[in-house]
């Protein structure tokens, strides 16, 4: 502390040096005068008094010097000198400095932004106690509800209870319901009135052991505990997130005892989680945590607490000290067999036992949390990180070149200083200080750019109106990273030029004569840097080309339905409190469909269980005479009559649903082409029957129509089987509503929402968008990579062009003399231009030749990110090469042109 205060005092005193000197001089003068006066009073003659006073005082100049020295240290003053000198010399070449700082800022900003997201999604540990001890049963790649004999990813709640009791390897175990429920709940205000407007609340159901296991302590009140989870349905308590506390309760300090209403149940808020805690899933920040014992009360009312074979929770355990992952894995696998077989209602048929025997549970360390984001974005983010590192390298090469050129121009200055006795180390330190100044300038600007870029990036990643809640931002870790990158960059581009510049043969540089004018052979380093830049740029551009091509290919995939002209939205029918099978609910759906269909501009409208990439309900279709069908899961989609017209899925044979298909008539189904071909015996399947197991019964259906195949969850997927059922016969609590329209989107959107509210005023409407957008969102990461890699590819090419321009300009300026002689001797101006252009061409072709094999090798790294590319890399390389050549030659043309305009008279006088 005292040291810092001392530094501050030093700083404030030294900042006003003139005043310091004046003050000191005044003070000393006063002393001398007073002493002189005293001596004179004692009887000395004025001149004698003056002499003695001075004598007694000592050497004033020396003493002033000493007083000044009290405030400075040599290192500090040298450093300050270097900084001032460096800043002055950088300001001297303003344009070059600006270009250097700007390109560095772009590079550092991009690195900061990508790293911050990469860190949040992939690297950062959960803010819990000893995250390194946490392991997940399974790999965390699935969520949902299953009902098999056992599963290696999802487990039943009773299984968790047994595991908790019987394992020997975990100090604690917790269960988390694998799906975060999106509930339209209500906040209860201070006077116990339920607020009229519902609010979207993300609700996580967790076991009572969850927070104790994580070691997360409440900011206010308490977290959930074992006692909240011991008996069914009688612990309506909730812990809320800091964000939700702010948003829904305006950070009310009397939060404890406030209530939220989820479905029909009221939950007491017992605590607020700490700010940094966002749960255990990166990218899914719950607003509310509720004990698993309350599962039935949280809409949609999953009831998983008692089902021994309802696999729906993730299990996380904390390894006991000294227990290895292997030991834990074998213990868990033994217990999986024992516990599963031990359930009283276990169906241990031959087939189930076979399945059970095959199940092997891997344990995955989850210090960084669970994340579906990670699966999706880990590769794109890593690729982008690689890309921005390359961009930064290119920027560094540019600055290195710039400094190299500058230091050569300063050769004379440095030579003189060395001749006058300056240490080489001192000169290197000074040049390095300049590099550091440049880097810091670039770094500071880069952080500012990065802060903006992070927000843009999260928007791009989210791909929709709601941004994914990831904790990416300029925190200390990210700033530390940026700082390290900045210093590394300075070392990278500063060291070599500084060492080179001070390694002089003195006489040469002092002569500064024509001996050194033959530079073409003298800056191989600068040329190597330019070649490297061009090479890296080519790699980036080829990559960008491949990603763009992939995006285009994906976009060109025919999903089997018409993406254009469809409005889609979600309603929350659970908020009505009616059961899915309630006839009033079905009537409401029908009323909405018919009223919306009547809106001018609307061609068709329909509810559906799924549209595109919204999960699935899979059941086998059992067709008489087709053994093996029971092993093939078929996507089941429950739809309205107008679904096929809305989606424009073409009917190939038979008919689609109509009002004649009622709850009391024969169950009917429309099957996809692929089902007709693979799950039915040869011949026309229309009129044939099949059964699906639904709601505990085998239900007979008759095929009434065949429609074209559609993509169901991914554009790249192989053709999937989709079977359509009518909600007139099979009730469904819909969320998805689709409207085919013509005309203005916002007008239609407004009219549709008004119509829905005219049927039910309080029905929450969400995610209003177009079908096209919904499909496009599934390509978010391809789009992200394509857009960003294109941007960086162009940036890299641009930086390389600056590099080419810089080196060629410099070469010309050093060869002015030679060029002058050539012209004087009769060389054609176009000849001179050609001379320079040829050199540019050599540099660029060198870079390209080096870049092509690297690009081809790099393609393998990004293989899995690509789609539908057959030999396209040739085209991509050709286009990139052409673009790069054109740009670089343009950059080289300017100096070449300048060279050809050299006036021989001036040139010969030059130097």
């Amino acid at each position: 502390m005292e040291f810092i205060r001392e530094m501050l005092r030093r700083y404030f005193t030294l900042r006003r040096r003139d005043q310091f000197e004046n003050d000191l001089a005044d003070e000393i003068q006063l002393h001398l005068d007073l002493r002189e006066q005293q001596l004179a009073e004692r009887g000395l003659t004025p001149s004698e008094a003056r002499r003695v006073a001075r004598l007694r005082f000592g050497n004033t100049t020396r003493l002033k010097e000493k007083s000044r020295m009290a405030w400075t240290s040599e290192i500090l003053s040298n450093f300050l000198q270097d900084v001032t000198y460096g800043a002055r010399s950088l300001l001297h070449t303003r344009v070059l400095t600006a270009v250097a700082i700007l390109s560095l800022a772009l590079g550092i900003g991009a690195n900061t932004a990508i790293f911050s997201l990469l860190d949040a999604v992939l690297l950062r540990s959960l803010p819990v106690r000893d995250p390194g001890q946490l392991v997940l049963l399974g790999t965390g790649t699935e969520d949902g509800i299953g009902s098999s004999i056992a599963d290696s990813e999802l487990y039943s709640y009773p299984f968790y209870r047994e595991l908790l009791k019987r394992n020997q390897v975990f100090s604690d175990v917790a269960a988390i319901f694998s799906m975060t429920d999106d509930v339209h709940g209500f906040v209860v205000d201070e006077s116990d009135q339920v607020k009229p407007e519902s609010e979207m609340m993300h609700v996580a159901l967790v076991s009572g052991s969850y927070f104790p296991m994580l070691g997360v302590h409440a900011q206010v009140g308490r977290m959930l505990q074992e006692g909240d989870d011991i008996s069914q349905g009688d612990h309506p308590v909730a812990v809320i997130s800091q964000r939700f506390w702010r948003r829904a309760f305006s950070s009310d300090s009397n939060i404890l005892g406030r209530k939220v209403k989820l479905g029909s149940a009221f939950f007491n808020v017992v605590g607020v989680a700490p700010d940094e805690f966002f749960g255990t899933k990166v990218g899914e920040a719950p607003d509310i945590w509720v004990p698993a014992s309350m599962t039935k009360s949280v809409p949609p009312g999953w009831d998983f607490n008692t089902g021994n074979f309802t696999q729906c929770v993730n299990i996380i355990g904390r390894l006991k000290a000294g227990v290895s992952l292997e030991t834990a894995t074998s213990n868990v696998n033994v217990l999986l067999q024992q516990i599963t077989r031990g359930f009283s209602d276990a169906d241990l048929s031959q087939k189930n036992l076979q399945t059970l025997n095959k199940i092997k549970v891997p344990l995955t360390p989850v210090a960084t949390g669970l994340s579906s984001l990670r699966q999706e974005f880990s590769q794109p983010l890593q690729i982008l990180m690689g890309v921005v590192v390359l961009v930064l390298l290119i920027a560094c090469a540019n600055i290195g070149n710039l400094l190299l050129a500058r230091s050569r121009a300063r050769a004379r200055e440095l030579g003189v200083r060395q001749a006058l006795g300056a240490h080489r180390g001192r000169l290197i330190r000074q040049l390095m200080t300049e590099s550091l100044l440049l880097a810091l300038g670039g770094g500071a600007l880069g952080v500012a750019l990065g802060a903006v870029a992070i927000r843009v990036l999260i928007r791009l990643v989210s791909g929709g109106a709601d941004t994914i809640p990831v904790a990416a931002g300029l925190d200390l870790r990210v700033l530390g990273f940026t700082c390290a990158v900045t210093i590394l960059a300075a070392l990278l581009f500063g060291t070599v030029p500084a060492v080179r510049a001070t390694r002089l043969s003195l006489t040469d540089s002092l002569k500064d004569g024509r001996a050194s004018s033959n530079t073409s052979a003298r800056n191989p380093l600068a040329k190597a840097l330019v070649i490297a830049q061009v090479c890296l740029s080519l790699v980036l551009m080829v990559g960008a080309g491949l990603f763009i091509r992939t995006l285009v290919n994906l976009n060109n995939i025919d999903p089997g339905f018409n993406r254009q002209g469809v409005l889609r939205l979600n309603i929350d029918s659970q908020s009505t409190g009616m059961k899915d099978s309630d006839p009033r609910l079905t009537a409401m759906f029908r009323q909405i469909e018919s009223l919306v269909s009547a809106i001018p501009g609307v061609k068709a409208a329909s509810f559906s269980a799924f549209t595109f990439r919204e999960g699935s309900w899979n059941e086998a279709m059992l067709v008489p005479g087709m053994p093996g069908n029971e092993n093939i899961g078929v996507h089941q989609n429950v739809v309205g009559d107008g679904y096929f017209a809305t989606m424009q899925i073409s009917l190939l044979a038979g008919r689609t649903f109509n009002p004649g298909d009622s709850a009391n008539s024969q169950r009917v189904a429309v099957i996809s082409e692929h089902i007709a071909q693979t799950l039915f015996p040869p011949g026309n399947p229309i009129g044939r029957h099949f059964t699906i197991h639904d709601d505990g019964k085998d239900i007979d259906h008759e095929v009434i129509g065949i429609v074209k195949d559609v993509k169901f969850s991914d554009l790249r997927e192989k053709t999937k089987n989709v079977n359509y059922l009518s909600y007139r016969q099979r009730s469904w609590g819909f969320g998805d509503f689709e409207v085919r329209y013509t005309g203005d989107y916002s007008a239609i959107s407004h009219a549709v929402q008004q119509t829905i509210h005219s049927v039910n005023r309080t029905l929450p409407i969400m995610n209003v968008t177009t079908l096209d957008e919904q499909v496009a969102r599934t390509m978010t990461n391809q789009r992200l990579v394509a857009q960003l890699s294109t941007f960086f590819g162009i940036l890299a090419a641009f930086l390389s062009c600056i590099g080419v321009y810089g080196v060629m300009s410099y070469t010309i300026s050093r060869r002015t003399n030679e060029i002058g002689i050539r012209i004087a001797l009769g060389a054609d101006r176009s000849n001179v231009r050609f001379l320079v252009m040829r050199e540019t061409l050599m540099l660029v072709s060198g870079g390209i030749a080096l870049g092509i094999p690297i690009a081809l090798a790099g393609r393998r790294v990004i293989e899995t990110m690509l789609y539908g590319l057959h030999g396209t890399e040739v085209a991509s390389i050709a286009v990139s090469t052409a673009l790069l050549l054109a740009a670089a030659l343009l950059a080289g043309f300017l100096p070449a042109h300048r060279a050809s305009m050299v006036d021989p008279i001036v040139a010969l006088r030059f130097e």
Partner: protein, 121 residues
């Protein structure tokens, strides 16, 4: 003794009027007794308090005062002398008081040791 001579290096007067290394101590003590003083008054103060035995090499007072300012032992502010001249007045800070205690106890320790050495001889 090593510490003493290091401290005293830039304080030692040509005429060796005061023991090396004690300049800080003397300045701090004088300020603590007499409060707010300017440089000349400090020099005079030391001389008077020692019944004119100790004479500060006057110039060396100023670098010492600057170092004490840097260390935060004293504060300086500008004022006007009786003769209506601009002067820099020094006062002791909290930190300076602590330093004075430290200097005194160190001084006593050294003097005690020296005395013992001299007496045994």
């Amino acid at each position: 003794m090593a510490a003493l001579s290091r401290l005293g290096k830039d304080l030692r007067a040509d005429r060796d009027e005061i023991p090396p290394g004690t300049l800080y101590l003397l300045v701090l003590k004088t300020l603590s007794v007499r409060g707010r003083l300017h440089g000349y008054e400090i020099a005079e103060g030391i001389q008077q308090a020692s019944d004119d035995v100790l004479q500060v090499e006057e110039g060396s007072l100023y670098p010492a005062l600057q170092r004490m300012l840097l260390k935060g032992w004293v504060n300086a502010e500008w004022g006007v002398t009786a003769g209506n001249r601009r002067a820099r007045y020094y006062t002791l800070t909290q930190l300076g008081r602590k330093q004075l205690q430290a200097e005194i106890s160190q001084f006593e320790r050294v003097i005690g040791a020296i005395t013992r050495v001299v007496q045994t001889a």
